[in-house]
Symmetry: C2
């Protein structure tokens, strides 16, 4: 006796799933993102999720993308390059665990792997936009990639905020101003 809801808009139903998934990710990390639990929370049978998403990884990516867009909407448009880099590093630090889970899933799941690449590409564009003026154009690619690697590497270690900033500041200065 399936209780279908053709009256509701499809996009709304998809959005409800993504919203629920996002909430679970923010609350308890990837561990909390269980299709069974998510469906129960939405009052659905677990199989219902699979009508809208082919795999759990697709739900994961959709929820991550919502989270990312929330961050980007708060992006500051003012300040010098280093300040903006530090701001982004702090935001990424807030979601480090999700990013670690994402990278782990990306090993197995092509959707997640593709999303991982997209995020990297996007962050790279933002970084270029932030510090293009500081960098001599001839070494732009190397400098930007090195700064990105520096930040990602620093975020891998769970350092206190002050030390994190100190390291990024130190590295940024040396990488950008030779």
């Amino acid at each position: 006796m399936p209780r279908t809801r053709p009256d509701l808009d499809r996009d709304d139903k998809v959005a409800a799933i993504v919203d629920g998934a996002r909430g679970r990710l923010l609350d308890g990390g990837y561990e909390s993102l269980s299709i069974v639990a998510l469906a129960r929370e939405l009052g659905l049978a677990q199989a219902a999720i699979y009508w809208y998403f082919p795999t759990k990884d697709h739900v994961f990516v959709a929820a991550l993308d919502r989270i990312l867009h929330d961050i980007l909407s708060r992006k500051p448009r003012t300040g010098d390059a280093l300040t903006r880099v530090l701001w982004f590093a702090d935001r990424l630090h807030d979601f480090q665990d999700l990013r670690v889970s994402m990278r782990d899933r990306a090993r197995t799941s092509e959707v997640v792997a593709e999303y991982d690449r997209d995020v990297t590409a996007l962050l790279r564009v933002l970084l270029v936009g932030a510090c293009a003026d500081d960098v001599q154009a001839s070494t732009l690619d190397d400098t930007v990639d090195a700064v990105m690697a520096l930040c990602d590497g620093v975020l891998l270690r769970d350092l206190p905020k002050a030390r994190r900033h100190q390291l990024i500041r130190f590295g940024y200065t040396r990488l950008v101003h030779p």
Copy 2:
């Protein structure tokens, strides 16, 4: 009718489990490290593993440690600092997937988290040993941490070997020689 083997040395039986785990990790990554499959391969009931290791994560750490020691035993004692850094980066690149899995498990498991910290500390010691001469002592900590972050960050992206080396070389030069 448990078939116990008190004649065999305990350490040998532990080693057999760790060896099997290592083989599975090298073959198929963390996904292949299943307690059920591992026990079957060793001709044991799955519960037998738990007589020697409290959790799967302990098996994982023991196997990772074997792999790490195999790498370290091949460590070159010659060459300049940058060459040795690049050599290490190449070795770490070979096991990037395992490291990603390790970091993901480290979020949940304290044993893995502790091992992660130990590995980082060890690599840091090696890096200090490799490039202490190149670096001015006053900024040793910052420089070493920044170089480590640079390498880890570069390894996160799946770049071709040439580009990887190019980036590390670029970053290393700017970070070490200001």
